[in-house]
């Protein structure tokens, strides 16, 4: 199995060929030395900074803009064992037209489903510009053989997924087997081909320390991730302002060093418009305006969209209408 970048680079040039970092992945020891040489993270300081950005007051025109921007960044997600084609079709319809009472409401960025549901999602969003994302690679545990993971990815891409959300092997990462994680990501990236963008999920709650999250972020980007993503939404601790801030710092620094821009996707636990806006402030003041776009920033969420819509209606009408004025799915 090749451990280098795919032969035909995708439009977002692969990071492994980035100047100065090409030889970092030459061996286990060079990769380890590089990742452990990254600046440390002071947990108290990081959380304090995230909290202080959370006190920015976003009102009136800025709020209206932020709500629409947040809606356009949602990866509307259903990842349940009980998912049916009907459920996925409903989700797709909602992604395309989140608020039937106001056609000016932007569509969400994507719908995110399991690989077997990709064809139904594809059909539901056809022609709308809404992307179909699929969680592959034995989501959410990632505990399967490489062959199974790659087959999962290929199936999703063949069925029409525009984006693949892969989980990394946290066991290998925690065991310090960074090159293995790197090679898995590279292989999955190759399986995505030129058409699908790859989001790499670290499951930050399981990586446990901020130092690990920074290392995982760089590892993912070195291996060619198009997006780095906090979590599956299936564990106790998912996206937090602090871990997202840290990943935003990583993509900012990575672009400064390599010229390659990578997206960020916090997922799980972001339920209110207020929270979403706090994340947008983090993006704005950490990575910068270049990331304030659904090509570079996403929210992995299911219930967030309805709160965004209710807040949007409130801003438009001056009245708070309540949950029966938005669709349940």
């Amino acid at each position: 199995m090749p451990t280098t970048a795919p032969a035909a680079p995708a439009p977002d040039a692969s990071a492994a060929s980035a100047p100065g970092l090409a030889d970092v992945t030459a061996s286990d020891s060079t990769l380890r030395r590089f990742l452990h040489g990254l600046p440390g993270v002071d947990a108290v300081g990081l959380e304090a900074r995230a909290a202080s950005l959370g006190t920015r007051s976003i009102k009136t025109t800025a709020k209206a803009y932020a709500l629409d921007l947040a809606i356009s960044m949602v990866d509307l997600t259903t990842l349940e064992g009980a998912d049916t084609p009907g459920k996925v079709r409903a989700l797709g319809a909602k992604a395309v037209r989140p608020d039937p009472t106001d056609r000016a409401t932007p569509s969400t960025a994507a719908v995110c489903v399991y690989p077997d549901m990709v064809p139904f999602a594809r059909e539901a969003v056809a022609g709308s510009g809404v992307k179909v994302a699929s969680v592959a690679t034995a989501f959410p545990a990632g505990r399967a053989s490489m062959a199974v993971k790659l087959a999962d990815v290929r199936e999703a891409v063949a069925a029409g997924a525009d984006e693949v959300d892969m989980v990394i092997d946290r066991g290998a990462f925690l065991a310090g087997d960074y090159l293995k994680v790197h090679d898995e990501i590279t292989a999955v990236k190759e399986a995505c081909g030129a058409s699908a963008r790859l989001k790499v999920i670290f499951e930050t709650g399981e990586l446990s320390t901020y130092d690990n999250i920074r290392r995982a972020s760089w590892l993912g980007m070195l291996a060619g991730a198009d997006f780095i993503k906090t979590s599956t939404g299936k564990v106790a601790v998912n996206a937090t302002p602090a871990n997202t801030l840290l990943m935003l710092e990583a993509v900012r620094d990575f672009r400064a060093q390599t010229g390659v821009q990578v997206g960020v996707k916090p997922a799980g636990g972001i339920r209110t418009a207020k929270d979403a806006i706090k994340f947008l402030v983090l993006v704005n003041e950490t990575a910068g305006e270049d990331w304030l776009d659904n090509h570079w920033f996403r929210f992995g969420a299911s219930s967030l969209l309805n709160d965004l819509l209710m807040q949007r209606q409130k801003l438009a009408t001056g009245r708070y209408s309540g949950p029966d004025y938005v669709t349940v799915d």
């Binding site: 600046p39 440390g40 993270v41 002071d42 108290v44 300081g45 990081l46 304090a48 900074r49 006190t55 920015r56 007051s57 976003i58 009102k59 009136t60 025109t61 800025a62 709020k63 803009y65 932020a66 921007l69 356009s72 932007p106 569509s107 960025a109 510009g129 710092e249 947008l280 704005n284 003041e285 305006e289 304030l292 776009d293 659904n294």
Partner: protein, 481 residues
Amino acid sequence: MEKRTSAFEYAPAPESRAVVDIAPSYGLFIDGEFAEAADGKVFKTVSPATEEVLSEVAEAGEADVDRAVRAARKAFETWPALPGAERAKYLFRIARIIQERGRELAVLETLDNGKPIRETRDADLPLVAAHFFYHAGWADKLSHAGYGPDPRPLGVAGQVIPWNFPLLMLAWKVAPALATGNTVVLKPAETTPLSALFFADVCRQAGLPKGVVNIVTGDGRAGAALVAHPGVDKVAFTGSTAVGKQIARTVAGTRKKLTLELGGKGANIVFDDAPLDQAVEGIVNGIFFNQGQVCCAGSRLLVQESVHDEVLDALKRRVSTLRLGDPLDKNTDIGAINSAQQLARITELADRGEAEGAERWSPACELPEQGYWFAPTLFTNVTQAHTVARDEIFGPVLSVLTFRTPDEAVAKANNTPYGLSAGIWTEKGSRILAVANRLRAGVVWSNTFNKFDPTSPFGGYKESGFGREGGRHGLEAYLDV
């Protein structure tokens, strides 16, 4: 989605001024009553952000100071005789009223001082309340403070405070004085008298006995009269080193006890293994908090040469995101300089830095036309021989120096007439302890900066003064031990 061109600009989010009712004029607060100055003199206090006149305040002369000290002396006959638990009740009551009126006081402080509402609301006011709560807890436990079974108060405390944290410095002074059984005559700074006068109202609301707290407003002459008054038993001063020296001369040879909390030129030392993103936050907080008008500001950045460029790039990027403007806007990071006089001093020192060959940098930043403003400024290529590395600027101006080894960092950090604060940034715990032990500074922060807590003593070495405020150590300054 169609690509939008407009940036994510935050709309103005000003805090309402309506929560605070500023009267057109205020008297002196003596023996529980507001009264005009004996000679009827007044002065104006203005909002530094707009130059708008906020109110007229009585200007105390010697006769007024004398009246205030007499009132405090009379109150000292009964106040320390109260059981500690009774005094504690008043302090707890004051603390709770401060919390209840927190929004009003935060807006008032922002108007009078020019600092952002973000800081008055999130830093000053919570700390003010915390100081009263903390010292309320000591009032009935003084026999357990380590100063003998029955430590006695000193008498009348004459306290002179600065304009950079008007209400917080008041709390640092008044809370321990009252907890230990002293009575108080306090002179706030002439540019920021309003929050002290509102505090007088808080005292009345709390039912504090008359004369226990007296507030005399005025300029340096009122302060000098207070310090020199023979009826004062204890002098506490926070402010400039020059004034501190004058006070020390005045008090020398008298039986008065004295504590001084003066200037500083704090070193913020960044080692090459520091958590860089957090270090940059700490550097920003160290020098741009309260527009740099902080005696313990980290105004000298000492960066290890190997990470100098990286740190400076990150720092400039971060400073470019600071938002300067209307202090009442909740999104403002940098407010106005407190007075025209202070702005002139900052401007002069910054110009001298440039003239001496240091490299000056400020982000692209529009300054409002009205009011007193100074853009956040960095000086690089600074050496120990530059004025900007030696003199306290007391403004948003950071001098950046470099070092190669821990020994050099310590030598440069200590090479200052001051010794109030220092910061160390490194991921290596043993280095924190080794370096902190060798720094001649009253407070050494590691991997953080400008953290305050009433339980933690604060004070300086050398020209930064003597005595400690806060914690168990701070009580000593108000007890006969």
